[in-house]
Amino acid sequence: MDDIEAELGISRSVGNEDFSDSSEDERVARKIRPPILLHSSTAQARAKESGFHESSRLCLKAIRDAMLHHHWQEAAQYLSAYSQTLEDTTVNKQSLACEIIWRLGTEILQHHPNSRLEDFNALYEQMKNSGVKNYAKICLEHSFHLLLNGHIYDAKRQLSVAASWRYGKQSVPQSLDLKLIHAYCGFLDYVIWHMKKSSVSEAEDNSSNREMHSYFRQASVTLQEIIAQPGVWDPFVLSYVDMLEFYNDQEEALKVLQNYAYNKDYPSNPNAHVYLYQFLKRHEAPPAKLISILKVLHHLVPSHELMQEYCYLLVNSVVPGHLEESLPVVFNLLDYPSWKNDLDTWNCLLTVMTVFKRKGLQHLIANEWKQRKDFWLTMHYRAYHGRKDSELNRELLLVKAKVAKLLGEHGKPDHFFKYKLLIIFIFLMF
């Protein structure tokens, strides 16, 4: 709980998701080249370029045009011609060409009607080995591609090959890639474990059971190691927790989730709190604990879908003061257009407001209303909205009308005049 301020502080300082501290972030960011338009160049540069470079520039332009027009056949033709840039005698252009061919080539294969998985494999293998700088990245992408096509074991093999690969001195981006490769290695172990688990439960087989446990051990070691480093590790955390839960190690799971949510070194991550909440809810934790988690989440993401649950928890809570907190939560939720037409949210608001009215806390409603009067009227209560609601969701219209009635007690009644008129009209019609 006391971490909220720190949490918010972090969220302000670390805008982008990255795995390391901010100073390293900056260094990495500085290393990343600004986007250059490779296919166009200044007239001055053009006068000096050789025919070969001119050809490759024009070819890249032709590929780009073909791709933009979804002419994959044509793009493949030009890429075949472009591959000669790999033989460029300047080292810079050579490595650039490698990356271009890798990225464009996979993109073209992705969309080309005749491409097969073997083509992908061949391209990845060739590009991996011709520009060693991108080896790790290409390996990772290759295994993603295999995963997408359901070749989990092949993907796993790719990753383990990549994990053991070393070339020269490790640079910063390279070590990041290797970290990711390591993480996905563990994740794939988990996926295999999961598959084994579902097959084992059907047929009680000792040997396959043992195999499954060995995968668990591998996965848990890797994942534990990865999760211990600050960063955003959502799928890895989830899989690790899943395994721990399977082996009934709730304590460890809770520890992991709490660390993931509250550790100051980690970048701010709303999902961390969501996972913790879901875990606790699964294991029937007391509402006070749940409320404390959701309170942090509310600060981070006021429009989160869990806010309705939070609201009901607050309303039903016996702790004094909780009830009062519930009203701003639901009002906040409706400030966001994504919840504008959501019946449940409006119902929630209606419930909360009736409870408040019953308990004689109308002044709080008036307070909230005063802040929002101007934009709520245009956002929720225009004749247009009424018409639209009547077409799509009559129930919503009714609930909104009821809320309007309650709100109308605090403002001038003519605020909702048009809206009410419309409602009456609509109800008379049907």
Binding site: F52, S55, Q73, S80, L86, S130
Partner: protein
């Protein structure tokens, strides 16, 4: 210390081995440029025994049949080398020094031999395209021999030893006596080749003297060959023969691969081992520009100390009158325009032989851009006719259409007869844009890298070979993906890039037979141009040293139509717009300033001048 040797030499020109006796003067490592005459050309009677025409020279200068080894009575005539190589004593042919290297089948070779081989291929290609056979046997060959003699690479009593500056590591301990030079004061023993099989060499090259081609200083002082110079020599030889292939055509043929230039080293015979530094000399990553080859040709003409070229007469295809006719056809302008162009040629005195003929021996002779000049003449004529100021030409074409309509009512429905610039523009512009697009895509697909791998250094060999393999795999995999063969443009060696007429694949309707009546009006007995005004940019010569052209500054103030026309010709001739503009100014200078007094000292770039004297036709 002259002595006689029997030597075996392999001629790069005709790739035949011949054994001949020659007097060698100061043999160190001699440049061996064989002066054997190709057997077929020397003696072309069929063999009495087997009937084949395949003669070779024996060491006694006797002809023998390669087919049945029948030796005949005839001996080789004294070779009439050339009419203008005066000092043509065969002086430095020696191959006693030439020996097989330790590499299997490899032979020592000099860089100039490589160039000789390339020139031979280019000459053969040109002859195959229809240039007269003399081109190869006489003109280009003589130019080349003369070049070797003048730069003292061969045919000389005192050849410049190109090895003095190179350090060759000996891969064998025994000094080779043949390489111990008597003439040069070389002290260290040298090995035969730059490379060694065990890879201990420092200078890595297949040829013997690649190293001296790499230093810019030496290249300049000894006027060594380079790849653009092969084209320059071809251009000079074509000019000497007054062939119809202009420089722009030559470069287009090179670009279309009809003349070997890119990766020509692929064709080198097996025994000329090619790697290392040779790559830098022979590798081509760009087709030289028009300006570059022209400059090199001028330089070569100076180096060769050529006499005056054969005169460019009015029946010669390089004459502006004929060349401009060709370009008029190419850009779909009416034939009637040709007589006007001829008037401009006459007025500017550009049809004279003395003006057109290139004479390097005269100090102030200019080396003309024949094709550019013809294009410029057409542009100037167009300016005279239509003014091309984005205004007059459109008014005139409206008038032409109107007149056409009137004519139609009177006569039959034969379609329009009058030439309208607007109609012409509407026909040519889309065709030009299409051609530009086509050209760009052709350029994008152009293969530059050779299948034969160039190995810059032994230590990179594995990497280079691997890279080549990857490229080949990529190409084949993407190729199978596309399924069809990428249609390369049919490379028919046509001198025209556009096709006008009714055919299916033509670029548009032909306007060659349209009349220009609307542009001329009768006043008295003479016909006058309707358009009375003429504009031009500043004709004063800029004497700044580094000044090339002012086109980039001017471009935005020039009329669009004029710029478009420059663009059209710059596309056709593959030169920059600035260069065409420069040539236009040159023609205008001759036309307007030749006899005229420069009446106004004008600082404006564009000035208007009424043309009364020369507008009557």
């Amino acid at each position: 210390m002259p002595y006689c040797l029997i030597c075996v030499c392999v001629c790069v020109w005709c790739v035949c081995v011949c054994v001949c006796v020659c007097v060698c003067v100061c043999v160190c490592v001699c440049v061996c440029v064989c002066v054997c005459v190709c057997s077929q050309e020397g003696y072309s009677e069929p063999c009495k025994q087997c009937g084949a025409v395949s003669w070779a020279l024996s060491d006694g200068c006797q002809f023998f049949c390669r087919n049945c080894h029948n030796v005949i009575e005839k001996t080789q005539d004294v070779v009439d080398v050339s009419s203008f190589i005066l000092n043509n004593k065969i002086s430095s042919i020696s191959s006693s020094s030439r020996k097989k290297t330790r590499r299997e089948g490899g032979r020592e070779w000099m860089v100039c031999e490589g160039f000789q081989f390339i020139l031979k291929l280019q000459a053969e290609a040109l002859v195959g395209l229809g240039v007269c056979p003399q081109f190869k046997t006489d003109v280009l060959w003589d130019f080349w021999k003369r070049y070797l003699q003048i730069t003292r690479q061969a045919y000389t009593r005192s050849p410049v030893n190109s090895f003095t500056n190179t350090v060759y590591l000996s891969s064998e301990s025994e000094p080779e006596s043949a390489f111990l030079s008597e003439a040069s004061d070389q002290t260290e023993p040298m090995s035969a080749s730059g490379h060694s099989t065990d890879g201990r060499s420092s200078v890595c090259s297949g040829s013997l003297d690649a190293a001296c081609y790499l230093s810019a200083k030496e290249r300049k002082s000894r006027q060594l060959m380079n790849m653009p110079r092969t084209l320059a020599l071809c251009h000079l030889a074509l000019l000497w023969l007054r062939e119809a292939i202009t420089l722009a055509d030559l470069l287009r043929l090179v670009s279309r691969r009809l003349i070997p230039y890119i990766n020509v080293y692929e064709e080198f015979p097996e025994e000329m081992q090619f790697y290392g530094r040779d790559a830098i000399i022979f590798r081509v990553e760009t087709i030289p520009s028009y300006r570059k080859v022209h400059g090199e040709a001028l330089q070569m003409a100076e180096i060769l100390q050529l006499p005056a070229f054969p005169p460019v007469t009015s029946d010669c295809l390089l004459h502006p009158a004929l060349l401009s006719l060709r370009y008029l056809m190419e850009v779909n302008l009416p034939d009637e325009l040709h007589s006007l162009v001829c008037r401009v040629i006459e007025k500017s005195a550009m049809g004279k032989e003395s003006f057109l003929t290139f004479n390097p021996s005269k100090p102030k002779s200019t080396f003309l851009f024949y094709d550019l000049q013809a294009a410029a003449l057409i542009i100037v004529t167009m300016k005279l006719l239509f003014k091309l100021d984005d205004h007059v030409e459109w008014t005139l074409s409206r008038k032409a259409v109107k007149k056409d309509d009137q004519g139609k009512k009177k006569t039959s429905k034969q379609g329009s007869k009058m030439f309208s610039l607007k109609a012409w523009y509407m026909t040519v512009h889309p065709a030009l844009e299409r051609a530009r697009q086509r050209e760009e895509l052709f350029e994008a697909r152009r293969p530059w890298k050779s299948k034969k791998v160039l190995i810059p250094a032994m230590k990179h060999k594995a990497v280079v070979l691997k890279r080549r393999r990857v490229v080949e795999q990529l190409q084949s995999s993407f190729h199978t993906l596309t399924g069809s063969v990428p249609e390369q443009q049919s490379s028919s060696p046509s001198s025209f890039q556009f096709l006008w007429g009714q055919e299916e694949d033509s670029d548009g309707p032909s306007l060659h037979h349209k009349r220009l009546n609307c542009m001329l009006e009768k006043r008295g007995k003479e016909k006058w141009l309707v358009n009375q005004a003429y504009w031009h940019t500043d004709l004063k010569r800029c004497h700044k040293k580094d000044c090339r052209d002012h086109y980039s500054e001017l471009k935005h103030s020039l009329p669009r139509m004029y710029v478009w026309l420059l663009g059209l010709f710059s596309f056709l001739l593959r030169v920059s717009e600035a260069q065409v503009h420069k040539e236009v100014v040159e023609v205008e200078r001759r036309l307007l300033l030749r006899k005229a007094v420069p009446e106004e000292d004008n600082h404006k770039h564009r000035k208007r001048k009424g043309r009364k004297t020369s507008s009557s036709f």
